[in-house]
Amino acid sequence: DRCLSSAATTPITATLFPGDGIGPEIAESVKQVFKAAEVPIEWEEHYVGKEIDPRTQSFLTWESLESVRRNRVGLKGPMATPIGKGHRSLNLTLRKELNLYANVRPCYSLPGYKTKYDDVDLITIRENTEGEYSGLEHQVVRGVVESLKIITRQASLRVAEYAFHYAKAHGRKRVSAIHKANIMQKTDGLFLKCCREIAEKYPEITYEEVVIDNCCMMLVKNPSLFDVLVMPNLYGDIISDLCAGLIGGLGLTPSCNIGEGGIALAEAVHGSAPDIAGKNMANPTALLLSAVSMLHHLELHDKADQIQNAILTTISEGKHRTGDLGGTASTTDFTKAVCDHL
């Protein structure tokens, strides 16, 4: 195992998938900021292949996956899955092959970037492997279809454990399990039961349960009511996007996927934005903040804070904002400003 205390002297190797569209531009921004901040990380770059790799049934090569497995930490730009049959979606391949079971999205109001909600500071943790996304569907008779939602004790315990671990490690006070167990008594009931079991091991953290419809309502009325939220797959998908909307959209929201054996693959949640690709217009904030989550995961908290502060200062100063935030700065202007603020 890697010895983190010697991190400053021995560089850590991390996998980098620049991805498609605006991916390479925003990945370049991360590389520059990391260099300027003297983060002890060496990138191992991997690109999505042009042909299907039979070993992964996808455009991602086996070597790329091996790189993440070996380094146990990586950063990923947006990947556009080419349309066509006979291959798996890139995101699905990563999720399945690396067993990325939890998706963590910190969501906080950016100081100086005004939205209608200024008091957001929460973390959504989404179970990523089962639930409504099982892909098990069939037609029973003509005009009647069924879709299976699967909840297992193993996956629920694992994501709950991660949520409480995260809360403790980040000095958070409260974990809310989001559910609809009044209707789905067995499936969501099992999810809650697992959360309660784990909660008992963390007496210092307050545990509560919130019905998802009520959660939606509370989030839009008063998002400051929440701290860490943990939930099954579909609810996590919906709630995390809702929260991203609260703070100004997907261009600002970082995320990190946690896999078995401590793998962490950070990624921006936005797409490849083909409309502005190659034009030096993309906002690298989401990927930069994802890289910050990655640094926290590596316990390089000082570097993480330093970079995060530089990003927040640059945005709140307002002189170098990209087009999506109403400014005119280019990707490179913004990156330079972040480096200057380190």
């Binding site: 939602k149 167990a181 008594q185 998802i212 909307g245």
Partner: protein, 341 residues
């Protein structure tokens, strides 16, 4: 003017279920206001509580006979092996459409302006099928059932509603990129019905993006049509944006019957504190009962009630805590009665 048929002024019987928690407070508010207006309705009141095994047969019979019911929330014990009576009632009476109107009330400041969204939600199947089982220890399954029959009739209802209410656009909410068959069937049904209403715009949105759009640009939405669970979430999000569940009216309707209740969170029975202090907000249910009066073809009574409620909100000195005030339910009721013209 409204030209009634002879005899239309005869009072109509309405089944009343005060329910649990804040239910008796807010249904009590409606009773008082109806009485003060001399509205042509009288109530047949039944005690129903969420911890009963099922809705008593006589209650179902009463709704079948009266065709119209007004109800407060019924608690659903979480994980107690008791199924939701709210859901039972909808299934038993085949109230397949749930409708919630989320709109900004003049005088009530919220984060967003120009919100006027109607969420029409399929109410009988989908994730609420109640079909769940343990496959092996530690692995449970829940079935989401989507049928052509139910999808088509909810789509038809949404377009018919839009046509009759002069609404311009219907948005179908789905997750068909993941649930290709189930939500795919829902969308297919919506598209077919949409072709029969060329005057109404039709579009589709994925549910996660929908919630994000709701918190950033809610004014883009008009009528939404959704499968069961998404409708529940979308309606609550929209309600929160427009001023809270305490003010949003709604109801459930099927081919033969209609049940009016607080629009978002029908199961919302409030906290014990609100019940003790008698400070539940009656506005949502009062607006729902205005919808009920319109449904019963008493349009001028509906208008008077709605106008009085809106006047009280606009004046702003008589509001319950959820709207930033301190009034009790009774104080709001008195203000509404005083504002009736």
């Amino acid at each position: 003017t409204y030209m009634p048929r002879p005899g239309d002024g005869a009072p109509r019987a309405v089944t009343l279920i005060p329910g649990d928690g804040i239910g008796p407070l807010v249904t009590g508010a409606v009773e008082q206001v109806m009485e003060a207006m001399h509205a042509p309705v009288y109530f047949e009141k039944y005690e129903v509580h969420g911890d009963m095994k099922k809705v008593p047969e006589e209650v179902i019979e009463s709704v079948r006979k009266n065709k119209v019911c007004l109800k407060g929330g019924l608690v659903t014990p979480v994980g107690g092996g008791v199924s939701s009576l709210n859901v039972q009632l909808r299934k038993e009476l085949d109230l397949y459409a749930s409708l919630v109107n989320c709109f900004n009330l003049p005088g009530l400041p919220t984060r967003h302006e120009n919100v006027d969204i109607v969420v029409i939600r399929e109410n009988t199947e989908g994730e609420y099928s109640g079909l769940e089982h343990e496959v092996v220890p530690g692995v449970v399954e829940s079935l989401k059932v989507i049928t052509k029959f139910c999808s088509e009739r909810i789509a038809k209802y949404a377009f018919e509603y839009s046509y009759l209410n002069n609404r311009k656009k219907v948005t179908a909410v789905h997750k068909a990129n993941i649930m290709k068959l189930a939500d795919g069937l829902f969308l297919e049904s919506c598209r077919e019905v949409a072709t029969k209403y060329p005057g109404i715009k039709y579009n589709e949105i994925i549910v996660d993006n929908c919630c994000m759009q709701l918190v950033s640009k809610p004014e883009q939405f008009d009528v939404m049509v959704t499968p069961n669970l998404y409708g529940n979430l979308v309606a609550n999000t929209a309600a929160g944006i427009a001023g809270g569940t305490g003010v949003m009216p709604g109801g459930n309707v099927g081919a033969d019957h209609a049940v009016f209740e607080q629009g978002a969170s029908a199961g919302n029975v409030g906290s014990e504190k609100i019940v003790e202090q008698k400070k539940a907000n009656p506005v949502a249910l009062l607006l729902s009962s205005a919808m009920m009066l319109r449904h019963l073809q008493f349009p001028s009574f509906a208008d008077r009630l709605e106008t009085a409620v809106k006047r009280v909100i606009l004046e702003g000195n008589c509001r319950t805590k959820d709207l930033g005030g301190q009034s009790t339910t009774q104080e709001v009721v008195d203000a509404v009665i005083a504002a009736l013209d």
